[in-house]
């Protein structure tokens, strides 16, 4: 007989729950709501976060464009027609002055028949900040004249140049943001409502409704959008007020965009219908409406929002393209597309390239929405 096998007994008291305790970190994860999980996942996507900040800032400033723009939307400067952008300088003759511009002296080139603006570098004209400038009416309620940035007293500040009527491009772009950025939101709201309703009906009722909706979707998806947009916007009555035209255009953009969303809703409804928790809800006796509203829709809402975000750029671009062609919004409504309409011919593009500047905010917004949409789509399903 060999010696007894050493027998080890842990003297510590036995805790039956020991295997189930989690670190604080794990616990935080398991207790987080799904919204919070989406946010955590979204946060890791740096570009999307940046895009969110950018777009958030843009949208927050929309109600205050009057304050931000140095000039009014329609203020004309007859002596500064097609003036190139004025450069902002910091140093005059080697001395620090702060941000200032040089005044323009206008000359007419009799050989080339062109306007020429020459900087008068004798006196610096400091820009003014948080100042009183051109009066405006905010939200149709208050009269005010406070601006973030004003031209120097007695001088001008056309930081992005002027157009054919001597209107400041920077101010017009700032005002244009209001229209261009809301077109996408209103359009997507229309498309979202249509897509959710029709896709929901198709997936929920099935049968002939489903068949009908699918055929309509097929037809709409096989049509090139732009010619159809063109035809529809050409059909807007010419006597409509600019505001009505705005809503007409957003309606047109939304009307042709819903098929993609409807297909997604339908597919999701069909696949989720077979899930256990839906069966459980059915057995408990929940009505079909309750099942859809309480159990199904919240489940794929995040996906829908992500794909809706991804189709906003198409709407912004659609409006820009239509207005650019002169079939969309019309002056005095000012959007980035309306501004680009002036840059349509080769002469404008070669002689006055600053008329192309509205392109930059268009592309930045589109890019930002794309990044944001990508980030949202990746984060939409935090449990995967």
């Amino acid at each position: 007989m060999a010696g007894e096998i050493p027998h080890y007994v842990n003297p510590a008291p036995f805790d039956p729950a020991a295997g189930e305790t989690m670190s604080a970190r794990e616990e935080r994860y398991y207790r987080a709501s799904s919204l919070r999980l989406i946010w955590w996942k979204f946060r890791t996507h740096r570009l999307a976060l940046l895009a969110l900040v950018l777009l958030g800032t843009l949208y927050v400033t929309l109600p205050f464009v009057e304050v931000i723009a140095p000039y009014g939307l329609q203020s004309r400067h007859g002596d500064h027609i097609y003036a190139p952008p004025q450069r902002v300088h910091l140093f005059h003759d080697g001395d620090f002055v702060g941000p200032f511009v040089y005044a323009y002296r206008f000359e007419f080139d009799r050989e080339k028949f062109q306007r020429r603006y020459v900087s008068d570098e004798s006196t610096p004209q400091p820009l003014r900040f948080f100042c009183r400038g051109e009066p405006y009416r905010l939200w149709g309620l208050f009269d005010a004249d406070f601006h973030l940035l004003c031209p120097p007293s007695g001088g001008t500040a056309f930081l992005l140049g002027t157009d054919r009527l001597g209107r400041d491009m920077l101010s017009r772009i700032t005002y244009g943001a209001r229209i261009s950025l809301t077109v996408g939101l209103v359009g997507i709201a229309i498309s979202f409502a249509l897509g959710l309703t029709l896709g929901g009906l198709a997936g929920y009722l099935g049968g002939s409704v489903d068949y009908l909706v699918q055929r309509v979707i097929e037809i709409l998806r096989s049509l090139p959008e732009l010619p159809l947009w063109l035809a529809l916007s050409a059909a807007l009555p010419a006597h409509w007020s600019p505001i009505l035209v705005f809503f007409g255009i957003t309606l047109i953009l939304g009307l042709l965009d819903w098929p993609g969303l409807a297909l997604a809703v339908r597919a999701k409804l069909l696949s989720l219908r077979a899930e256990d928790y839906v069966r459980a809800a059915e057995l408990i006796g929940a009505s079909r409406r309750r099942i859809i509203a309480r159990h199904l829709i919240p489940n794929f809402m995040s996906h829908l929002i992500a794909s809706a975000t991804l189709s906003i750029p198409a709407m912004i671009l659609g409006e820009t393209a239509l207005s650019f062609l002169g079939l969309g919004l019309r002056p005095p409504v000012t959007s980035w597309g309306v501004l680009l309409n002036e840059a349509q011919n080769l002469a404008a593009v070669t002689l006055y390239p600053w008329l192309l500047v509205p392109m930059i905010p268009v592309m930045a917004t589109v890019l930002a929405f794309n990044f944001l949409g990508d980030g949202l789509r990746d984060a939409a399903d935090p449990y995967s």
């Binding site: 090139p224 159809l228 035809a231 671009l317 393209a321 650019f324 840059a343 593009v349 268009v362 592309m363």
Partner: protein, 337 residues
């Protein structure tokens, strides 16, 4: 296969019919028509002979009939004796603005539209397939990263803005004008090698611009699909049994991704054609785009209707071809579920 083809063909016919109704409704949406306005104009000028001619046209083309009768006679399902016979009879209608048959107005533009879109389609494939395969295989390399980034940028750059930028810079740097489809000096010259060369040079910029977004989208999708396939057991098996890297790639995973890729062509077409219409306007290419916009502005209904229908036919037929190719390369579709 024949059954599949016939069924697919019947669906296409029904789709086209529905599209034609939609198009007709859309072009008839604005109140009034071109001839009524023209007649009023001519009457105001006191030119009663021309007004009478316009009134004759109005009657001959049935613009005084109710909408549904106009539609039926437009597509040619309801030919009336001594009057306009309709699309199915091969009569594409009359352009009131140009005072010419529609087919004479758009004849050359149809060919140009087809050439531009086909060339763009070929360009997309020649560029997207190798780039997608390359970025999927050499995923970490700096070149692949650059391509991926460019694809992202290409996806977000609106085509008509890109066309404007190119218009600006090519003119400023090289002094060349990239508008039009052929050199102005050669426009009326008989067809020659020189003319063909000029057309090719003029096609490069528009095609790159039109194809960019679709190419970028295709690279991204195809790369994602290929990355999924590369790590599946069958691909590992192929490498494990000693196939060379190229063969192991092309024989199995590549064939798998070709499938969704062909299906994609159909989805890509509407966007491609939309883009070509817009880019044609900016670069003044002689495609149907500029004629369409003008016709829509003037309510020249048969001209606008015909172009819209032509563009739709182009898309739908393209989708049909994509589906047939898909059926050819994928037996699962050919033999049906």
């Amino acid at each position: 296969m024949t059954r599949y083809f016939l069924r697919r063909f019947a669906t296409m016919a029904v789709t086209l019919l529905a599209i034609s109704v939609l198009i007709f409704v859309v072009i008839k949406l604005p109140p009034g028509d071109f001839l009524t306005m023209r007649i009023q104009e001519l009457m105001a000028e006191g030119d009663s002979a021309a007004a009478a001619k316009a009134d004759f046209l109005r009657r001959a083309y049935g613009l005084d009939l109710p909408g549904w009768q106009q539609y039926l006679s437009w597509i040619g399902l309801w030919p009336r004796a001594g009057a306009y016979s309709g699309l199915l009879q091969g009569n594409f209608g009359w352009s009131f603005e140009y005072d010419l048959p529609v087919i004479d107005v758009v004849g050359d533009a149809l060919g140009a539209t087809l050439i531009v879109n086909l060339a763009a389609l070929v360009f997309i494939h020649l560029l997207a397939i190798p780039l997608a395969v390359f970025t999927a295989v050499r995923r970490r390399g700096i070149v692949a990263e650059a391509i991926t980034f460019l694809a992202y940028l290409g996806l977000a750059t609106p085509s008509f803005l890109l066309a404007l930028i190119l218009l600006f810079y090519l003119n400023r740097w090289f002094g060349i004008s990239i508008g039009g489809l052929v050199d102005p000096d050669l426009a009326d010259a008989p067809f020659s090698l020189e003319k063909l060369g000029s057309i090719t040079v003029h096609l490069i910029v528009p095609i790159v611009v039109i194809a960019l977004a679709s190419t970028a989208a295709m690279i991204r999708r195809m790369k994602a699909n290929l990355l999924d396939e590369l790590h599946k057991p069958y691909a590992v098996t192929a490498r494990a049994k000693g196939l060379g890297p190229t063969r192991a790639l092309l024989k199995y995973p590549f064939r798998m991704v070709l499938n969704p890729f062909v299906a994609d062509i159909g989805n890509m077409l509407p966007g491609l054609i939309s883009g070509s219409v817009l880019v044609s306007l900016v670069l003044s290419l002689p495609t149907v785009g500029p004629i369409l916009v003008q016709a829509l502005r003037m309510q020249d209904q048969y001209l606008a209707g015909f172009i819209l229908l032509f563009v739709a036919v182009l898309t739908v037929v393209g989708m049909l071809i994509a589906d047939l190719v898909l059926a050819l390369i994928d037996p699962r579709i050919r033999f049906g579920k």
